[in-house]
């Protein structure tokens, strides 16, 4: 384990933002840091970067406290996007890399290569304010990686990107991972996290709910999941939820996902469906999706703000019964 979050606690006045948060991030992979708004993700990242100090606990990278590490160990893509509006794109990329200790001529060369890679080489000489939000986001991503950090922390990196840019960014993630860098990102977008992450940490109200390899978390769920499609039913019929042994049904355009109660057998469920006259076109016992796993563990979707701490500086909102 390379990055160790070890019993980190942080308070903002009366608000407990992080409550002895503990988890490990393996080196050289893509790690998903999942939680609803106000769960404590940004606070954790800021403590990693030394922007704010923890009240208790410690964060270590490769065994060394993060406060002792040079800033260039980290790359940071904040959730709040921002560049110097009147400064040229290439100039500010070189500027940020210089602050991290990169030689300007090297930074310039690398920046041009990344702009080309992200299909925006023509914007090198333009002011940041002339770029679309999506392109500004790509420039910010380049600013975060230009100095070749060992660990890249990204707060909601996919927000606001169109599908094409989303693919470009995901490819960049993969490339950086293959170079041996450690990528940690927070997101609401469970599909993106599921597609990219080998490991995740799910936090809620400053506490770790679950963490580890994604595959292991799914298998440890203890529940079985069925993916089913019935001919002639669009969407899937409501009576699926009434079948004994089915705890929950998530219906979508293609069919439905059934979450079975502990001990329920998929075969028995299939028999009941067939007995009720259902014409089954697709039946599959599956691992739960990350989104489903998140809901199961946290009690609500990641984009549901209920029960969150709000932003770091705001007092905590009263928790709603997740049931």
């Amino acid at each position: 384990m390379s990055l160790q979050i070890d019993h980190v606690t942080k308070r903002y006045g009366a608000t407990l933002a992080l409550d002895a948060l503990t988890f490990d991030v393996p080196r050289g992979g893509v790690f998903g840091f999942l939680g609803a708004n106000g769960a404590g993700k940004t606070t954790t990242m800021r403590i990693c970067l030394g922007i704010i100090a923890a009240d208790a606990g410690e964060i270590r990278w490769e065994g060394a406290p993060v406060a002792e590490l040079p800033r260039r160990t980290w790359g940071y893509l904040p959730e709040e996007r921002g560049l110097y509006p009147r400064m040229g794109v290439l100039d500010q990329l070189v500027y940020f890399a210089s602050l991290y200790g990169e030689a300007p001529h090297v930074a310039r060369r690398e920046a041009l290569a990344w702009l080309d890679r992200f299909q925006i080489p023509e914007y090198a000489g333009k002011r940041a304010e002339e770029l679309s939000k999506g392109n500004q986001q790509k420039v910010q991503f380049i600013a975060a990686i230009l100095h070749k950090p060992q660990v890249l922390l990204m707060d909601e990196p996919f927000t606001g990107l169109d599908p094409i840019n989303l693919v470009i960014l995901r490819e960049a993630f993969t490339e950086l991972r293959d170079q041996g860098r450690t990528l940690i990102f927070s997101t609401h977008q469970m599909e993106a996290a599921e597609a990219l992450c080998e490991s995740v940490a799910i936090i809620d109200r400053g506490r770790l709910v679950a963490g580890g390899r994604l595959r292991d978390l799914k298998r440890a769920s203890g529940r079985r999941w069925i993916r089913i499609a019935l001919e002639g039913f669009q969407p899937a019929p409501a009576w699926l939820a009434e079948i004994a042994g089915v705890e929950r049904v998530r219906r979508d355009a293609a069919g439905a996902e059934l979450v079975l109660e502990a001990g329920a057998e998929p075969g028995a469920i299939l028999n009941v469906i067939l007995a009720r006259g259902g014409s089954v076109s697709h039946f599959e016992v599956i691992d739960p999706s990350l989104e489903a796993l998140f809901i199961e563990l946290v009690g609500r979707p990641a984009d549901d703000d209920a029960g969150t701490l709000g932003t770091a500086a705001r007092p905590v909102a009263p928790a709603r019964d997740a049931a």
Partner: protein, 441 residues
Amino acid sequence: MASRDPLLPNAGIIARREYRDRVRGPLYLASTVILMGIALLVALAPIGIRYLDRGTVTRIAVVSSDRELAQRAVAVADSLLNVAPSGVDPATWQKPFRVEAAGGKDTAGAALARGELAGVMLVERLPTGQLDVVFRTDGPPDGVRSQLVGFAAVATGILDWTAGLPASAQLDPFQTPAFRVESINTPTDAGGRPLDPQQTASREFLGVVFVVLLFMSIIIYGMWVATGVAAEKSSRVMELMISAASPRQMLTGKVLGIGAAGLTQYLAISVPALIVLEFQDRIAEAVLGPGWSEGAPLVGLTPMLLAGYGAFFLLGFGLFALIYAAMGSFVSRPDDLQTLSLPLSLLAIVGYLAAILALSGGGGTWVRLASFVPPFSPFVMLARVMVTAVPPWELALSIGLLAAAIAIVTVVATRMYAAGVLLYGQRPGVRAFIAAARRAG
């Protein structure tokens, strides 16, 4: 994290960006050119006024029931008011005053009321033989012209008295006594000798100019610093910056960079104006001809004074700029700065007013005290140095206290900046400042 984040090179990189960002802006260039032009016009204004005034003749009438007495008074006043400058050909020189005998008090009074005369000198002999002289004027009662007429009255009295002496009286020719004022509080030159009146007047003029420039620089360029910080927050680029550089590096770089941009503009404005002032006499002579010089305004300026001004400018600006930067970090938008900057502007205004008082020789003990207390000391000690003889230990103590204050403010401002830059969407207020200051403790 000072060991992790040494001040350099990041503070230098940030300072360079801030400097370039400002000096390359079209507003900066435009304002520099406009202010430079205004400063040059102000420096040339005295020559312009003299140029416009060169053909004007000021008329003064002498009224007396004794015709002989009136003629003596005209002759004396004319010789005192119309002193030809050295190097001028008296034959071609045009007298600025025309002193003439007038027929009657009422006629002259009416001419004075109509503005045709600048003054009426009423000269009468009392039954005791004493002369009674009244000068009616449209100018101030204690103006230079009134004082000269006062001298003329005395001289007329002496002439009138000597005219009554017997012809056999053996008298040497009358000699005007030499007269000068020596104040024990007058600034001295490098050799400890009191300055002459022209140098003293120059020091008073320069004192006002320097104090006003210092005040304006602190307010204007201090607000640049605060606005720069607030703009970084509002554009959210601060989020990137705080991971790339430490608050100490950012604060120092910002103050240095924006301060340097301000200093560049300041020099661009003031140096041409100072050059004009330095050569004002020569320009006046070239434009108006010989005899129009009135003494160089910068005659009292010495390299040591200029160095002292530079030191107080840099230290004073540094102190205020650090506070402005910390203040800027507590607002989310530049618009919120106006309200928040008011208390700081008031502090500068208090220092400015105390300095103006010191320049006029007032204030006494508390002004002397203020010349040691930051943030007032940059203004007040500068003013004292310009117009009085300040003991070296007082100057050293004032600069030492100012440097110590900057060191303390740097630590507190860095902590406040570090806390402030992460506060978004909150109304700035006293509570936020106190909380940050406590954390700094």
